[in-house]
């Protein structure tokens, strides 16, 4: 009995550990992005690649000093998005957006998107699943 309880505890703990981390179907999330480094950026959408294994879009972000930096954002697969009702038209070139995401570990100006919002706060594109 005690052994069974211990076994169940170890199994549950293992599953909790697995639950705690984000994942990507194509590659490990943690190998490319750092879930402990959130980032929020506002800028103008310059380019959209509605492709697999991940969609990518590029946002020109102006610094307070006036210089512009192009940020790259990676998102879900086209398949996942299509089945959750998202369309390429959700992201319009030239539109000013605010993107929440997580920074890449080893690449500058690259992040994984969490939410893309328009200037009036409307969610244009979102991660999938229960958000608490």
């Amino acid at each position: 009995m005690t052994l069974r309880l211990l076994r169940n505890f170890v199994l549950s703990f293992g599953l909790l550990l697995l639950m705690a981390f984000p994942f990507l179907a194509h590659h490990s999330f943690a190998a490319e992005y750092d879930a402990s480094k959130p980032v929020t950026l506002k800028g103008v959408i310059a380019k959209v690649e509605w492709t697999n294994p991940h969609i990518r879009f590029y946002v020109d972000v102006k610094s307070p000093g006036g210089s512009t930096t192009r940020w790259e954002f990676s998102g879900p697969s086209v398949n996942t998005l299509a089945r959750n009702g998202a369309k390429k038209e959700s992201l319009k070139i030239g539109e000013t957006v605010t993107v929440d995401g997580f920074l890449a570990r080893n690449v500058k100006n690259l992040a994984n998107m969490k939410t893309v919002k328009s200037v009036d706060g409307k969610i244009l594109l979102d991660r999938i699943g229960d958000q608490q």
């Binding site: 076994r7 199994l11 293992g14 599953l15 697995l18 639950m19 705690a20 981390f21 984000p22 994942f23 990507l24 179907a25 194509h26 590659h27 490990s28 999330f29 943690a30 190998a31 490319e32 879930a35 690649e49 492709t51 697999n52 294994p53 991940h54 990518r56 990676s74 998102g75 879900p76 697969s77 086209v78 398949n79 996942t80 299509a82 089945r83 959750n84 890449a104 570990r105 080893n106 690449v107 690259l110 994984n112 969490k114 979102d126 991660r127 999938i128 699943g129 229960d130 958000q131 608490q132």
Partner: protein
């Protein structure tokens, strides 16, 4: 009770078996045809799933097995190392084929087409396929050209299709075979995989999978992979990993 209402209830009850039972194929065998996907039992993290939901078994094929997988010592060490490195060397990161086991657990959809003598499975992931011969031919003892999905034959055992596969591709060493999960559980060319496809009811397909790979595991192990019928769309959507792959160059262990 109003006789009309009673008649409606009787009619609806008579339709119920059609909604829940498994319609047989032309040869009287259970029909496994349809679009299926892995039952996604892993809740999304609080920030949402970056790329949709999955099953625990995609990350750890031994999830739920008491004590985990019976790795040979070298395999145990390898999985420990791969896990510590965030699975950065997963061949899928380089758009290599998933192989038979991960084709069951990946989050993309698959279509089973059952014909007399041949069962075909089409997979969205890299628009790939499996062909399972059910024409009575024996499973060969070895194959000339190993492949990622192996060579498969199937026989019916009652209402369960039993599929056996051998001939899995491996690189120069035993460490260079397919990954069975994101943790990097290995498969070697010595493996024989048995899948028992059982359509439990209309909407559920249970695949009981046994991996017998004495080079990587101290004993054969068996798991259940639950597939659910997809009814929201009749279409597969091609997912070609090489279309715009830019991540392989960025992945790192820490």
């Amino acid at each position: 009770m109003n006789p009309f209402r009673l008649a409606v209830i009787v009619l609806l009850l008579s339709l119920l078996p059609a909604c829940t039972s498994k319609s047989p194929a032309a040869d009287g065998k259970p029909d496994l045809s349809g679009i299926w996907e892995m039952k996604k039992d892993r809740p999304c993290p609080k920030d949402g799933c970056p790329d949709g939901e999955i099953s625990y078994q995609f990350l750890d094929i031994g999830a739920g097995l008491p004590g985990g997988l019976p790795y040979q010592p070298w395999a145990k060490e390898l999985v420990k190392q791969r896990t510590a490195q965030n699975g950065k060397d997963d061949p899928a990161s380089r758009c290599m084929p998933d192989g038979l086991v991960k084709l069951h657990t990946n989050p993309f959809r698959r279509k089973i087409i059952q014909t007399p003598g041949l069962l075909v499975i089409l997979f969205e992931r890299d628009a790939t396929y499996r062909q399972i011969y059910t024409d009575g031919r024996p499973l060969p003892t070895e194959v000339d050209l190993p492949s990622f999905n192996g060579y498969s034959t199937g026989n019916w055992d009652g209402d369960t299709l039993v599929v056996q596969s051998i001939g899995f591709k491996q690189g120069d060493t035993e460490k260079d075979g397919e990954w069975l999960d994101r943790n990097g559980s290995p498969l070697t060319s010595a493996a024989k995989i048995t899948e028992r496809f059982h359509r439990v009811d209309h909407g559920n397909l249970e695949v009981t999978l046994t991996v017998d790979d004495p080079k990587a595991y101290t004993a054969p192990w068996t798991i259940k992979l639950n597939q659910v019928l997809v009814t929201d769309s009749p279409d597969l959507i091609d997912y070609n990993c090489t279309e715009n792959e830019q991540d392989a160059a960025h992945v790192a262990s820490k």
